[in-house]
């Protein structure tokens, strides 16, 4: 079977048996999403890099003991979650006040190509940590809410609530920038 079509779990088993190519495929498949999961929760980039590397290091070391008990993504993100919680979350102020005024009224940035991504990043940075994590997981992975609840060690209902609040907060924040579904479609139409 081709490596690219193999499931994550099989690739992990193959790597545990000594196939380095399987790990390479697995890494290329998940590296960006996992990187963003860490970087978007940890404001210090160097620390984020360290945690990201440590996360993969733990995955590598645990390869021999990996079992088919859960989906590989759930298992890997659980490792990343524990790292972030242990090393960072305790230090981060959950609801840091950000000076929004200067950001909102900088006319140069409004029609900038990268401004939308900057705006959403800004809004995400204002989310409480648990809501942010849930939102990132829904965006970056194909995990169901049930699986996310396993990763973040919370109940299914709690995850649902966190996600709902996160979406609401982001939408409210984006409205401040004059961004909404109608506006965005208009913007993309005029840009195109």
């Amino acid at each position: 079977m081709d490596h690219l079509t193999k499931a994550d779990e099989l690739l992990m088993f193959d790597y545990a048996k000594g196939d380095a190519v399987s790990f390479e495929v697995l890494y290329l498949r998940h590296k960006d999403a996992l990187y963003r999961y860490v970087v978007r929760q940890v404001s210090d980039l160097d620390l984020a890099h360290d945690l990201y590397q440590e996360c993969w290091s733990r995955i590598i070391k645990a390869a021999a003991s990996y079992t088919h008990g859960s989906k590989w993504t759930t298992w890997a993100y659980r490792i990343a979650h524990n790292l972030v919680v242990d090393h960072y979350r305790g230090l981060k102020p959950v609801d840091a006040e950000v000076d929004t005024e200067s950001f909102l009224h900088s006319p140069d940035r409004i029609h900038d190509q990268g401004v939308l991504s900057e705006q959403i990043k800004y809004c995400m940075a204002r989310l409480p940590a648990v809501q942010l994590e849930t939102f990132i997981l829904t965006q970056e992975t194909d995990l169901t809410l049930k699986m996310i609840s396993e990763v973040v060690d919370a109940s299914h209902e709690a995850v649902k609530t966190r996600l709902r609040y996160a979406r609401k907060a982001l939408q409210d924040c984006l409205v401040k920038f004059g961004l909404g579904p109608m506006k965005a479609s208009t913007d993309s139409g005029t840009r195109g």
Partner: protein, 260 residues
Amino acid sequence: MINKDSEDEFLDKLYARSANEKPPADLDKKILEEAKNNRHFNLFSMTIKFQRILSVAAVMVLSVYIFFDVGGNRSTGIDEALLYPQKSKLRSSPAVPHAESIRINDAVDDISESNANDQNLWKSDIASPKSLSSPIPPFQKSDTDVEYGLNKPSVRNIAEGIETKNESNDALSTDKETTLKDVVKSINQKQVAKRRMAPSSEPEMLTQAEDMLNEIERLLANEEPEEANKLYRKLKLLFPAYPIPNFVADSIEDDKNILD
């Protein structure tokens, strides 16, 4: 009014547009390098895991074998002392080495009284531990028996011999009191005297009986019935269980009737 689903869709699109961060190339390289280096470690740990499972399985099989006595042939391959430690404890109780030491002393005294040939015999007795581990029957002292013991030594006998020798050495080293030695000596002397009184060994007896029978046959052939009759009586007296051929017995009886 804005549709809720379209709001979520908008948010997802916006996020997807912003999701452009990627890990630096040097970090990728480091991680992949580490993965390659750890590949052998993973293989090693997998092997250890497999070996652990295998050893547990082997122990379980052995336990089942011992517990249920598979095949009903316990003695083959496994030492009974290992299976039944109580028995071995009984064997190595304090009284037994003492008894063994007496026997050893007996053997040593016996040898000290005998000549150089007898010393060779003692050496072979050590090699064939029957003479040390059990009371020595009188007929076992002959050279033929010793040769038999040397020619067919079993591994079990050798092992027992070593064990007995070790036990006896320990016992000898501990028996330092003179009173005990005196007692042992007196017992040994008695046993030696008994042995001297004892008749010759069984094969020797058989040979003697056979010789006598041959002599009877020769006398009968030479027509010396009186001598033959005397020898026949002697034979019957000494070896009552020895089988005598019918023709010899008949001719002796006939001659006896004639003589009478």
